[in-house]
Symmetry: C2
Subunit: 261 residues, 2 copies
DNA sequence: AGTTTTAGTGAACGGCGTAAAGCTTACGGT
DNA sequence: ACCGTAAGCTTTACGCCGTTCACTAAAACT
């Protein structure tokens, strides 16, 4: 006795009434998509609440009022689900970083960069478990998932595009190419090749500065998320802001305090 | 039919011959200590081979020819075992860092620092799973173990002592205290208080530089261990060496290439 | 000698991922 | 309008896991 019995047009076989108002995606696929979302949402709830080890198929199924093997219609296993969540999280993180720059004027490059880097930190702190799922050291044997790799690339690109603008403005005091050793140049070539940069528009010096910025930001935020220093120095925000200043000055970005603490 | 049957002196009850040569610590405690080591060694073997999730009491017990509940005589549970391993690993890492500086002359501060930081990276790369166990983001709810905290402090101290020497030599071009904001000064005060530094011998500027160095080194090594960049830029050593140079120059350390690649 | 402490086993409980088989229901083709 | 078929889901089952409890055998102490 489902509630659908009170539908205006129909009784008897609703198979007839169903496909009449069919939208493009088809009803079947819509409910499937909804279930898929529900599974991932529940996975995230547990992830946020209990960390990565708290995510289990059985628990998720229980929360949804079904049994674990049913989830195999949607994911090929726990790893597959986790990878799907990872990909979603990368997209979300990218959006958070890009979104923070959105409200600022397009020509305020410095402001956009500052806002984006702060947004990265904020997202990480507001989603510790998610952050650690994204950036944790993978187990020795498990191969990376292509969806996650792609989403990671997109995330990286959302950072690089900020940098591109900076380069275009030509304000970065770049180290001369000759100061960079030949082995490192090789590696930066490889990096540029796989990320779409060309050495034409981004010199070795520029890539060098970019890497340096990213490493420092990543180290800082990772430490804060993992709370390695928190027990001995408390609130890390002052250190973050001070480092932000130091990180960005070699890239020619003028530091500004955040007006909304 | 064991090989021991061919032993020269013995047959009958060997219980009589045993306790004669008892040493100070007591025989009982020795074998207990040995078993304890064996458990931790087996835990490490699995850790290195399969990463943190591969460490299980049942598997370890199986490897040792006993059953899982028996291990509860030595550890109060899996977490307890993992924490013991963590503490051991911190000691080992500290020793590796300190040991790398050992062979160098005591007055070669720059050389000792370079060797120590390179040793940190080398250890991390040679023990990826162990490194990630030490520095992974903890699950939201689990409280830190005091033994691990203490060992972590010791590890930090092994780094700080290098820095102390640098300070004593007065070669660091320190930022003036006034350049450091009041909030950050508060945090650095807290940091100094809990680590044994005093603001007398280490100015705010010095602590600021120390933190900056550590954050950059940590970020760099973490990224390399997690292999975030490896797929797109291959061997990270050139970047590490270049960063090492940049990291240490604000601390007044003169970079030297490593003679043994 | 007997008593107590220790190391270890065996069985059991509940939770986990996952494979196989079966049942219901809705869809698609005719 | 009907029927084959596939999708969604459950039941059952296997083997792994951490952990508890009751128990035995041996060592240590008195």
């Amino acid at each position: 006795m489902p509630a659908e019995a009170s539908a205006p047009t129909g009784d008897g076989t609703q198979a007839q009434a169903g496909p009449g108002a069919a939208a493009a995606p088809g009803r079947r696929e819509r409910v499937r998509e909804a279930t898929l979302r529900e599974i991932k949402d529940n996975a995230r709830r547990r992830l946020a609440a209990e960390g990565p080890p708290g995510v289990s198929l059985r628990a998720i199924a229980r929360d949804m009022g079904m049994t674990a093997p049913g989830l195999y219609r949607y994911f090929s296993g726990l790893d597959d689900l986790l990878n799907a969540v990872r990909a979603d999280l990368f997209h979300e993180l990218s959006a958070a970083v890009a979104g923070a720059a959105g409200p600022l004027p397009a020509d305020d490059t410095d402001g956009r960069i500052l806002a984006s880097l702060r947004a990265f930190r904020s997202w990480a702190l507001a989603h510790r478990a998610e952050f650690s799922l994204l950036f944790a050291t993978p187990a020795p044997q498990d191969a990376p998932d292509p969806r996650v790799l792609e989403a990671g690339r997109e995330f990286a690109a959302s950072f690089f595009s900020l940098f591109d603008r900076l380069l275009a403005e030509g304000r970065i005091p770049l180290p001369a190419d000759e100061e960079i050793g030949p082995e490192l140049r090789d590696r930066l070539d490889a990096f540029a090749a796989k990320t779409g940069f060309t050495i034409d528009n981004a010199s070795y010096g520029a890539l060098r500065v970019l890497m340096s910025c990213w490493v420092r930001l990543y180290g800082l935020v990772s430490m804060e998320v993992a709370e390695h220093m928190t027990p001995i120095m408390g609130d890390m925000e002052p250190l973050f802001e001070a480092e932000l200043q130091d990180i960005l000055s070699p890239a020619g970005v003028e530091y500004r305090a955040s007006h909304r603490p």
